[in-house]
């Protein structure tokens, strides 16, 4: 395809490397060095997108990251990316892109009928329509799905991104943000002073604004010299295609490097993007500035562009987007643009809102044949699918039309409303901005102590040589602050002569919006083109009493699209200021927050996704479980066997069988996930005595004891058994979930409160495995497999342990029961756990040994009324759980005072009970319990905590917390599951469903 707008010569493109891309099924011919946007313009594409709300046709507006219009879908399939700004998408052969937020396509879009509804969908449309007339949210919920479909941005991909992303940490002395003239000078100066420098540039090339200047000129010579200087510096690291998106405390900067975004598929083992977390001592913010648009009717038409963007397309990409151009400005910076456009072959009319313009500005242009209109502005753009003319008028001092308008035919309108320095990072650091009248912009309010220096356009610095000098000074100062060495001579290349006109917003006239005398416009005049916020919306918000800039922003949604107001901010503020008859700084500005430009979540996540999201903890016998077809369940970071299905069993069949098997024969459950803490030292007993509610000082060596801990506020914290292994050596267990928490809690007490206690606590959770061997045959099995210990009931009653060996491996055998059966816990060093486990099963074959999982373990403990996590839920007291008898009445312990707070001692508190559920379906934990007489009305009286089918009782049972629970045994209650909308009935019973006397565990 021909490129009708491509210039014959010039540009920084490689004309030897022709490429082809696709946009909406259309082939775009381009060259390497193009962006998708420059290729669209070169190929004469006018409509490339549709507006957010009204679906008006939109064209390319800018040449950089600020682009509000040309957002496209990039690539297809799993690599699909929405909201890509065509202006920063590097062209590559085979690039696929499509229009977004339009159906069937951007050139003809059905939803453009929304334009007819425009009078009804102005500012505050949501609030007015959906929060007034109809009560409740039903109307909104009905309309929402249609609105969501009609308005919006790109469509996200729902399948996993196949590409890799990675994270890097980096450290430097001086971080230079921005590779334009000021940044390059800063990096060279800081580097020459001996600092370790990192220079980051978001573009694929260094040079910044210099790339938009004519090719082969003085600026190119300077740029080449700077690049050559940097190449020879080992202490300067340069990262291109890298955007600093955030500035954080302690001089940490977040950046994303688009390593392989400029190809379809990254090379093998290479990341698409890389997230840099850079810690620096000093930083130089050389982030440049963004040109401001002007506001007039239909200023969103394809063919309305930023003036200096047009200059970029001409000089950098050799693309002239229009032949007859109307250029409108309120400052000096459009004059150099006009000259470049004429040299490229365009016919240019230049409108300046200022009545008097210095002769040195307009004289050279007159010689080039530019038609000048001092005191003029654009009232409206003509043309519906693209610019066909500009309606121009003389302006008064408020930007209102004065006198009749006339129309100039043109195919491109270029606008310049001055410049907005990119001060986002400054603002993110919480540093102050102050309004500068000269440039009509918010600038960093500098302080000597700041570790962030500014240079160049970010500082509203005028000409190129001045920017180079500012960069040099900032780089030198930053380096000096790090190295402490003063007076180092630096040698930064300069322009030979200041040949370029002042590029900045010198002598700016603060008129951005052009209206009729009555303040109206000939059509929608957009302040925020990306979010479709018009001047009339700002005016409406003002009439409705919105005064604060923060309120105005949220009410009109100006500046809240993906560009975050990069273009619209000042124009919206200026309009507010005008309406309120205040100055812009009095109106104030909103706060910038990261990210500066949108970044992919994938880049931040890096490799921390899927199974790598967090570490997985496996018990020492994990492989055995997997080999024996266990279905695993996640318990915190742990993977535990949930159940071991036999012959296609469901989970319900499997756990019921496993639980019944334990009560009849013998089963083994892997309890290695228990928290295990070595409590050692001469004061260990005193320490335990303080943290547990029960007494510990008289526990003999060889014994163990169940203990409960309270929080200081009297609520139950955790429970577990602790064994006394030696004179000063105790072995504590905690619940699996609380292992880390309890260790931290104990350490805190020892290190900060009870520093006089000679006690060490050490986590040994990973050092020991633990297996619970439970069932009537447990002793016979262990007798068969253990050596060196008498396991008889007389020698080893409950709550005692012995040391023994299994297959030569030393083990400790605690006699204690969680299941309610005759049971032992075998503790073994982790490295030998697998061997011991296998020996248990080898010897156990003749005892019909079976493994059991957490589901049946839960069933067994519920039958016994033992509490666990669902009951120790951070709200229950000892009394609630029926554990008050454990608490010592004589000694103080953590929580001993506050457990007797009035509300915690109330008799009517919900207490632990059992429920026998009627019928043949189980209860759902969390279901509410109601008094049957109250017919499920009023306040609930309690809730279900742990439910199961009980093979021993042959019915569905549950533990529950029920008001006045102990006095209600035998009563029938209603169980209501509001989520599943079911009602069941149940009988209140003792929580000790099975073998309440404990005959089986004492056997």
């Amino acid at each position: 395809m021909k490129q009708p707008n491509r210039l014959e010569h010039g540009g920084r493109i490689d004309r030897d490397r022709a490429i082809e891309m696709q946009f909406d099924g259309q082939t775009l011919s381009a060259f390497e060095g193009d962006t998708l946007a420059s290729a669209m313009l070169a190929n004469g594409l006018k409509i490339v997108a549709r507006g957010f709300k009204y679906h008006r046709p939109r064209g390319v507006f800018s040449a950089g990251v600020e682009e509000p219009n040309a957002l496209v879908h990039l690539r297809s399939g799993a690599r699909h990316e929405p909201n890509a700004r065509a202006t920063v998408v590097e062209a590559y052969d085979g690039l696929q892109s499509t229009g977004q937020n339009a159906w069937p396509g951007v050139r003809f879009d059905i939803s453009a009928v929304n334009q007819l509804l425009a009078p009804f969908i102005g500012a505050g449309f949501y609030y007015k329509t959906f929060m007034g007339p109809v009560k409740g949210t039903a109307f909104w919920m009905f309309c929402e799905k249609f609105i969501r479909r009609a308005a919006g941005m790109g469509r996200a991909q729902t399948v996993a991104d196949p590409d890799e992303y990675e994270k890097v940490n980096a450290f430097c002395d001086v971080l230079v943000i921005g590779g334009g003239p000021a940044g390059l000078a800063a990096a060279i100066a800081a580097g020459q002073c001996g600092a370790r420098v990192i220079l980051l540039e978001q573009d694929a090339c260094l040079g910044g604004s210099m790339l938009s200047l004519p090719v082969g000129g003085e600026s190119d010579a300077c740029l080449k010299a700077m690049e050559a200087t940097l190449k020879g510096m080992d202490n300067v690291r340069i990262l291109k295609r890298t955007t600093v998106f955030g500035a954080y405390d302690q001089d940490v900067y977040g950046a994303v490097e688009r390593v392989w975004d400029h190809v379809e598929v990254p090379p093998a083992h290479q990341p698409r993007q890389r997230y840099w977390q850079i810690r620096t001592k000093q930083a130089v913010m050389a982030t440049g500035a963004i040109e401001r648009p002007l506001v007039f009717a239909n200023n969103d038409r394809p063919g309305v562009m930023l003036a200096n963007a047009v200059r970029s397309y001409v000089n950098r990409y050799a693309v002239l987007p229009g032949k007859k151009i109307v250029l409108a400005t309120n400052n000096d910076s459009a004059y150099a643009v006009a000259a470049d456009l004429v040299r490229a072959g365009a016919e240019v009319s230049l409108l300046d809102a200022r009545v008097s313009v210095p002769a040195e500005l307009f004289k050279p242009l007159e010689a080039l044949g530019v038609q000048l209109y001092p005191g003029y502005g654009i009232l409206a753009a003509k043309g519906s699918r693209g610019v066909s003319g500009a309606k121009i008028v003389l302006l008064d001092e408020n930007g209102c039309a004065r006198g009749p308008s006339k129309t100039i035919r043109c195919d491109l309108i270029a606008v310049s409303g001055g410049w907005t320095p990119v001060v986002h990072l400054w603002s993110q650091r919480g540093q102050k901005l102050q309004f500068d009248e000269q440039s009509a912009s918010f600038l960093p309010l500098k302080s000597a102590s700041s570790t962030l220096k500014t240079a160049g356009s970010a500082n509203a610095c005028g000409d190129l040589n001045q920017a180079l000098l500012q960069g040099e000074v900032a780089g030198q100062e930053a380096a000096k602050a790090v190295t402490g060495v003063v007076g180092v001579q630096v040698n930064v290349p300069r322009l030979k002569e200041a040949i370029y006109a002042d590029d900045w917003a010198r002598d700016l006239l603060m008129i951005w919006s052009v209206t009729r005398e009555d303040g109206s416009t000939d059509g929608k005049a957009f302040v925020d083109v990306q979010h479709d916020v018009a001047l009339s919306d700002i005016d409406l918000a003002h009439r409705e009493g919105f005064v604060s800039v923060e309120h105005l922003k949220r009410y009109t949604t100006t500046g809240m699209a993906t560009d975050q107001g990069k273009l619209s901010n000042i124009n919206a503020l200026a309009r507010m200021a005008q309406l309120q008859a205040l100055s812009i700084p009095k109106v104030g500005t909103t706060t910038f927050r990261p990210p500066y430009t949108p970044i992919a979540i994938g880049a931040i996540a890096g490799r921390e996704q899927g199974i790598h999201f967090r570490p997985t903890r496996l018990t020492p016998v994990h492989d055995w479980h997997v080999d024996n077809a266990a279905v695993m369940i996640e318990a915190g970071a742990w993977k535990r066997p949930w159940y071991y299905p036999e012959g296609g069993e469901t989970i319900n069949q499997a756990y019921v069988r496993e639980a019944a098997h334990v009560r009849k024969h013998v089963g083994v459950v892997d309890a290695s996930t228990l928290g295990k803490i070595a409590v050692q030292g001469p004061d260990a007993a005193e320490f335990l005595n303080r943290v547990y509610v029960n007494a510990w000082k008289k526990l003999k060596i060889g014994r163990l004891r169940y203990g409960v801990m309270l929080r200081d506020d009297g609520i139950v914290l955790d429970d577990g058994a602790t064994a006394r292994l030696g004179e000063n050596d105790y072995f504590m267990t905690t619940t699996t979930a609380n292992a880390a928490k309890i260790l931290g809690y104990l350490e805190h007490l020892l290190q900060t409160a009870w520093t006089d206690l000679k006690v060490h606590v050490t986590s040994v959770s990973d050092q020991y495995a633990a297996f619970a061997v439970a069932g009537p045959s447990a002793r016979d099995l262990l007798d068969a497999v253990c050596s060196g210990a008498d396991l008889s009931n007389e020698a080893l009653p409950n709550n005692q342990f012995v040391k023994a060996t299994i297959a030569g491996v030393p083990v400790r055998i605690n006699r204690m029961s969680y299941s309610g059966e005759l049971a032992y816990e075998v503790y073994v060093a982790s490295g030998y756990a697998h061997a011991v486990w296998k020996n248990l099963f080898k010897a156990g074959a003749s005892f019909d040994i079976k493994p059991y999982g957490t589901e049946s373990m839960g069933a067994l403990r519920i039958e016994k009324g033992h509490v666990a996590g669902p009951e120790i839920d951070g709200r229950t007291t000892l009394g609630d759980l029926g554990l008050a008898g454990f608490a010592s009445r004589v000694k103080p312990f953590s929580g001993s005072v506050l457990r007797h707070r009035e509300k915690l001692d109330m008799a009517s508190r919900p207490t632990l009970v059992g429920l026998e559920i009627d019928g043949d379906t189980g209860g759902m934990a969390g279901s509410l319990i109601y008094d049957q007489r109250a017919q499920q009305m009023g306040e609930e009286q309690g809730f279900l905590t742990s439910t199961t089918y009980s093979p021993a009782l042959k019915k569905y049972i549950s533990l529950a917390l029920l008001r006045d629970g102990h006095e209600r045994f035998g009563e029938s209650v209603d169980i209501v599951n509001h989520v599943g909308d079911t009602v069941q009935t149940a009988k209140v019973v003792s929580p000790h469903f099975f073998d309440p006397e404990g005959a089986r565990q004492n056997a």
Partner: protein
């Protein structure tokens, strides 16, 4: 993303630490003599200053020691780290 100085290990990345709110809250020597109001102060009521703040940190993924940090909650500047039991340094930069 702070660098925090552990009084035992030196400067380490924030990801090694956990934070636990206000420091210098003495555990009652004799819990039985405190009024409910005093208990409320010990357990629940905390200063929430904008500016200088003494706070407890734990080198959780390091030496597992607890220590105190003097930090500015507004600017996040860290003024000092010190061991539990040591006197708090003066407000602001030491």
């Amino acid at each position: 993303m702070f660098i925090i100085e552990c009084p035992w290990c030196g400067k380490r990345d924030q990801s090694e630490f956990s934070t636990h709110g206000e420091a210098h809250i003495a555990r009652p020597e004799d819990p039985s003599v405190l009024s409910d109001e005093q208990w409320g102060d010990v357990l629940f009521f905390r200063h929430n200053p904008k500016g200088q703040h003494y706070e407890r940190w734990n080198h959780a993924h390091g030496c597992r020691r607890w220590f105190n940090v003097s930090r500015n909650t507004a600017s996040s500047e860290i003024y000092a780290s010190y061991k539990p039991g040591e006197a708090r340094p003066g407000a602001g930069k030491s």
